[in-house]
C-alpha cells in the first residue's frame, strides 16, 4: 500500500521540483500515529533544498524518533508556486512523512537559522491554519517552539512563539516531551503546560514575561509576570560531545540539496574569539568530539547513506586537536571507497596545503582566506589573529604547490573602519598577486596567471558579541565603502588578476534591524508578510519597498535599531538570556577592540568569558 500524498498529481506536475513535497527519502522515519503519544513537526522555514542541508534538524529528528512514544516529521516552506496554489485551494500545510496537516500535531518546532526567514515563519503558521500570535491560539493548536542561533535574540518574533528553547538540542527536549506528555494525560490546559515548561532550564515562554520601555524606546524593564519562573534563561549545552547521540542514519534526499554529503561535526564552539562572530561567542565553550567517536560515526554514516562525499563541519577545523589523525584516517578510508573529502574552514598553512593536495584536484580548486579586514590595525580591532605575513606565506607556498586561485573574504563597515583599512583590502589582494608573479614564469602553476576573487559582505552587529553596542553603517555609508574599494582595486597594479564581488545592502539593513530588534517589531513583520514579503533571503523575492512600507505603517523608525551606538548601560532585548559569555566580558572586549588590543584565544589563556560554568571543553583542557 503506497502512501497517500497531500497534494494531487495535477498539483505536483504543475510545481517546480515536486520532490520537495513527497517525503519518502532514504532513512525517513514513519510511525503509526496511533502508536505514539506525541507528534512533533520539525520545520525549517525555507525551501526544502536549504532545510534538508542542515545538521541541526537531523539531530532533533533522530533524537525524537529514537523514542517510541514520539513521532517527529519534517516541514519546509512551500516555494512561491505551491504557496499560491495552497492559498487558492485552501490546502493546509502538511508534514512530509505522514502528509498530515501540521495542525494535527502536538508541536510545531521551527528552527531559526537566519533573520531573513522570519516572514517564512508566518507563512508556515498561516498555511497551517495556526493563529500568527501565540496569545490567540486555542487548546487545539500545536505548541509552537523555536530553536537555533536566532534564539539568542528571539524578541522580534517572540509574539509568534509559545516558547523558545535556548541551547543545544541534545539536552532538554526529552524533559520537555515528558512534561507535555504528563500534562496531556492529566488533561491540563495549554496555559498550564506553558507555565510548567517555563520552569525547564533553557525554555523561554515569551507570554510569561512583560517588557516596559523608556520614552526613547529602549527597554526599562523585562520581568516574569508569573511566580516561580526564572528571570534569566540559561543556555543549555552538552558538556561531553563524545558521548552523545549523533544521527547515524541521516536522511538522503532525492533531489540535489545544498549539502549533498555526509556532514561530520568535529567540534562545537571556537577558541578564537573574533569580536564580530556570534557563533564564536554563543557556542562557547569549544568542545571537541573524540577521534574514536568521529571515526566510528564517519563509517556508519557513509554506509547508511551511500553518499560519495564527506565534509568536516566546525567553525575552525584547523583548531581541532586531532586533525592530522582524523584526515589520515579519512583519506585512507575514502580512497578505497572512492569517496570525496571536503575540508572547509581550514587555515592555510603547510599542513593544510599537504592535506588539500591529497583530497582535491589542485588545478580546479581554490584557496580561501578570510582576513575579514584589510589592515592589521582593523584585524586587531576585530581580534582576527591572522597577519599579512601569514597570509602571504600561505599564498606563496600554495602557488609553489600548484594552486593559482585564491578567494578572499572581508567585511565592510566594522567598528572604527577608515578608508585606509578599506584600501588595505585592495593592497593585500595586490600583494598576493605579486607573490605569484615573483615566482619565475616557468615555475608558475596553471595558465601562468593568478585569479584572486575578493568578496565583501557588510558587517551586521549581532547580539552576544563585543560589537553588540556598535552602530551599523547606513546604506549610503556602505555604498561609499564599496565604491571606494572597487576603485582601489581597479587602480592597483595587478587589477587584471583581481575580481571583486559584493553583497546587497538592502538585505543587510533589514538583517541588522531584526538581529538586534525587540518585541515591537512583530507588527512590522506581520505588515510585511501580509503585503507579500516571503523568502526575503532570496534576492529574487526580496521586496525592499514592501518592507519600507511595513515600517511606515507601524509608525516605526528602522534607524533606532541599526544606526545608533548603544549606551554601556542600555538593557538589550536579549539580556534576559544567560548565554555563558557575560555582558561584562563582552563590554571589556568591546573596549579592548576600540583600543586595538588583541585578546588571546582560549588555548593561549583564559579571558574569563564566563563559560567555565558549563564544566567541559577547552576550559578544562590539561
Amino acid at each position: 500500500m503506497m502512501r497517500k500524498l497531500a497534494l494531487s498529481d495535477d498539483i505536483l506536475l504543475a510545481v517546480e521540483k515536486p520532490a520537495r513535497y513527497l517525503g519518502n527519502e532514504i532513512n525517513a522515519v514513519y510511525k503509526d500515529k496511533e502508536s505514539v503519544d506525541i507528534r512533533f513537526a520539525m520545520c525549517f522555514p525555507d525551501v526544502y533544498e536549504i532545510g534538508m542541508s542542515y545538521l541541526g534538524i537531523q539531530i532533533i529528528y533522530d533524537l525524537l524518533n529514537a523514542r517510541d512514544d514520539i513521532a517527529c516529521e519534517r516541514v519546509y516552506s512551500p516555494w512561491t508556486d505551491l504557496d499560491k496554489i495552497m492559498r487558492e485551494r485552501n490546502i493546509p500545510l502538511f508534514a512530509l512523512e505522514s502528509q498530515d496537516p501540521v495542525k494535527d500535531f502536538d508541536f510545531l518546532g521551527i528552527t531559526l537559522q537566519y533573520e531573513m526567514c522570519y516572514t517564512n515563519i508566518l507563512q508556515v503558521l498561516d498555511l497551517s491554519g495556526i493563529p500568527l500570535y501565540a496569545a490567540e491560539r486555542s487548546e487545539e493548536d500545536p505548541i509552537v517552539i523555536g530553536g537555533g542561533p536566532c534564539v539568542y535574540n528571539p524578541e522580534p518574533i517572540a509574539d509568534f512563539f509559545d516558547m523558545f528553547y535556548i541551547g543545544e538540542g541534545e539536552t532538554v527536549y526529552y524533559d520537555l516531551m515528558d512534561t507535555y506528555k504528563a500534562c496531556k494525560k492529566a488533561g491540563e490546559s495549554r496555559r498550564a503546560f506553558l507555565e510548567k515548561a517555563a520552569k525547564i532550564p533553557g525554555i523561554y515562554v515569551p507570554q510569561l514575561y512583560d517588557v516596559s520601555y523608556h520614552e526613547d524606546g529602549t527597554i526599562a524593564d523585562f520581568v516574569p509576570n508569573v511566580e516561580g519562573i526564572p528571570e534569566k534563561i540559561e543556555k543549555q549545552v552538552v558538556s561531553d560531545l563524545s558521548h552523545v547521540i549523533y544521527p547515524e542514519k541521516p536522511l538522503v534526499p532525492f533531489i540535489k540539496v545544498t549539502q549533498d554529503r555526509v556532514v561530520l561535526e568535529i567540534q562545537r564552539g571556537c577558541i578564537r574569539g573574533c569580536r564580530f562572530c556570534q557563533a564564536g561567542m554563543v557556542y562557547r565553550p569549544n568542545r571537541e568530539r573524540s577521534l574514536e567517536y568521529l571515526k566510528d560515526k564517519a563509517i556508519k554514516i557513509l554506509t547508511s547513506t551511500g553518499h560519495d562525499e564527506i565534509s568536516l563541519s566546525s567553525l575552525s577545523s584547523s583548531d581541532y586537536s586531532d586533525l592530522p589523525e582524523l584526515t589520515d584516517f579519512l583519506i585512507d578510508y575514502c580512497e578505497k571507497k572512492k569517496i570525496n573529502i571536503s575540508l572547509p574552514s581550514l587555515r592555510i598553512d603547510a599542513f593544510s596545503l599537504d592535506v588539500m593536495s591529497k583530497v582535491q584536484d589542485i588545478r580546479k580548486s581554490s584557496l580561501t582566506f578570510a582576513p575579514e579586514a584589510g589592515s592589521q590595525r582593523l584585524r586587531d580591532v576585530i581580534n582576527k589573529g591572522l597577519t599579512e605575513e601569514v597570509i602571504l606565506k600561505g599564498a606563496g607556498d600554495a602557488f609553489r604547490g600548484g594552486w593559482n586561485r585564491v578567494k578572499l573574504y572581508f567585511m565592510l563597515g566594522q567598528p572604527t573602519e577608515t578608508q585606509e583599512d578599506i584600501f588595505g583590502i585592495a593592497d593585500l589582494a595586490n600583494k598576493i598577486a605579486l607573490e605569484f608573479y615573483d615566482i619565475p614564469k616557468e615555475d608558475r602553476p596553471g595558465n601562468k596567471r593568478v585569479e584572486i576573487v575578493v568578496s565583501t559582505s557588510f558587517f551586521v552587529p549581532k547580539p552576544f558579541t563585543p560589537f553588540q553596542w556598535s552602530r551599523q553603517c547606513t546604506e549610503d555609508e556602505f555604498r561609499d565603502k564599496q565604491r571606494y574599494l572597487s576603485n582601489s582595486i581597479r587602480e592597483s597594479l595587478n587589477h587584471r588578476s583581481i575580481r571583486y564581488n559584493w553583497h546587497e545592502f538592502h538585505l543587510t539593513e533589514l538583517e541588522g534591524i531584526l538581529a538586534r530588534g525587540d518585541r515591537k517589531l512583530s507588527e512590522v513583520l506581520v505588515n510585511a508578510y501580509q503585503s507579500g514579503c516571503l523568502f526575503d533571503s532570496w534576492s529574487e523575492c526580496f521586496r525592499n519597498d514592501l518592507w519600507v512600507h511595513a515600517f511606515e505603517k507601524a509608525g516605526m523608525d528602522p534607524a533606532f535599531y541599526v544606526h545608533r551606538e548603544r549606551g554601556a548601560e542600555e538593557i538589550f532585548p536579549w539580556d534576559f538570556i544567560d548565554a555563558g559569555v557575560t555582558k561584562a566580558f563582552l563590554r571589556r572586549e568591546y573596549e579592548r577592540a576600540l583600543d586595538e588590543k588583541v585578546t588571546p584565544n582560549c588555548r593561549q589563556g583564559c579571558s574569563g568569558c564566563g563559560c567555565r560554568v558549563y564544566g567541559g571543553g577547552v576550559c578544562y583542557e590539561a
Binding site: 503506497m2 502512501r3 500524498l5 498529481d9 495535477d10 505536483l12 506536475l13 504543475a14 515536486p18 520532490a19 513527497l22 517525503g23 519518502n24 527519502e25 532514504i26 538522503v252 532525492f254 533531489i255 540535489k256 557513509l302 554506509t303 547508511s304 547513506t305 551511500g306 553518499h307 560519495d308 571507497k337 572512492k338 570525496n340 582535491q360 584536484d361 580546479k364
Partner: protein
C-alpha cells in the same frame, strides 16, 4: 562484468526526475555494497547508464540501467541486497549478466510498451468511441505531427513509429511504439495527435502513463526485451510483487 538491471518506479517516486534517479542509484549501490567499476580521476563516479530517461509523472514496470562490477554474488542475492536499499516505489525486478561485448541499452533501444490510464474518470470519451478513433488513426498512411525540438518546430510522421495501439476492457490504452535515438515516440504525443484529429481536448494531466517494457531489435528485426538481449543470464525477482499483464 557487465550487468543490466530492470526496475519498477511507482507511486510518489514518479515525481523524481531522471538525473535524481541516477544519483539515487549511485548511492543505493554504495549502500548495497556493489563492487562497482568507477571512472578515473579526482572525482571518480560509477559507470552507470540508463536505457531511456522516464519523464516526470510517469510510472514504470520496466526501466533499465547498465552497470559494470568487478565481482558479484549470485543474482538472487544481488537483487535482494539492492532491494533492501530501495525507497518505497522503486524495486529491482530483473538482474541480467551480459556478454562482454554487449552494447549499452541506450544504443540498442528500439521500442517500448506503454499503458495509459485516465485519472479518476477523466476519460475524454467512452470506450466504443475510443476504439473507433484508434481504428481510424491506425488506418492513416501518414500522421504528421509537430514536434518541438530545442531549436525549432519539426514536422514528423509518427505513423511508422506506432507498432500496436488498442484499448482494453477497463478503458486503458496499450501501445507499443518506437523508442531510442533513431526514432522515439512519446505516448503523450501520440494521444494528443489522435485526440486532436477527433476534435477532443487533450489534458496531459488526465493521463497516468506506465512504461511496461523496453526492447532491442535482433538481427531479424524481432523485438527482444532488453533484459534478454545479449544476456548470458536474466534472473527475475522470485517474489513477484507486480501484476505483469500480457
Amino acid at each position: 562484468m557487465k550487468l543490466r538491471i530492470r526496475f519498477s518506479k511507482k507511486g510518489p517516486v514518479k515525481f523524481i526526475g531522471h538525473l535524481d534517479i541516477l544519483r539515487y542509484f549511485q548511492k543505493a549501490f554504495r549502500r548495497a555494497d556493489y563492487d562497482l567499476i568507477y571512472s578515473q580521476g579526482f572525482h571518480p563516479h560509477p559507470i552507470l547508464s540508463f536505457a531511456s530517461p522516464l519523464g516526470v509523472g510517469l510510472e514504470s514496470e520496466g526501466e533499465y540501467m547498465d552497470l559494470e562490477v568487478n565481482t558479484m554474488d549470485s543474482p538472487a542475492v544481488m537483487l535482494e541486497r539492492l532491494n533492501a536499499q530501495m525507497a518505497e516505489g522503486i524495486e529491482a525486478n530483473c538482474y541480467s549478466v551480459l556478454r562482454d561485448d554487449a552494447k549499452n541499452s541506450m544504443s540498442i533501444l528500439a521500442a517500448a510498451d506503454y499503458k495509459v490510464c485516465f485519472r479518476d474518470g477523466r476519460m475524454p470519451c467512452d470506450r466504443t468511441k475510443m476504439e473507433e478513433m484508434i481504428e481510424a488513426f491506425l488506418a492513416c498512411e501518414q500522421i504528421p505531427v509537430e514536434k518541438k525540438t530545442k531549436k525549432n518546430l519539426l514536422e514528423i510522421d509518427i505513423r511508422p513509429m506506432i507498432r500496436t495501439l488498442s484499448v482494453k476492457e477497463d478503458g486503458s490504452i496499450w501501445m507499443q511504439v518506437s523508442a531510442g535515438s533513431a526514432a522515439n515516440l512519446k505516448p503523450e504525443l501520440l494521444l494528443e495527435s489522435m485526440f486532436c484529429q477527433n476534435g477532443i481536448a487533450f489534458d496531459p494531466y488526465a493521463l497516468l502513463i506506465t512504461r511496461l517494457e523496453m526492447y532491442a531489435a535482433d538481427a531479424d528485426g524481432r523485438l527482444v526485451p532488453l533484459s534478454e538481449y545479449q544476456a548470458v543470464s536474466a534472473d527475475k525477482l522470485s517474489v513477484c510483487s507486480k501484476e505483469m499483464e500480457a
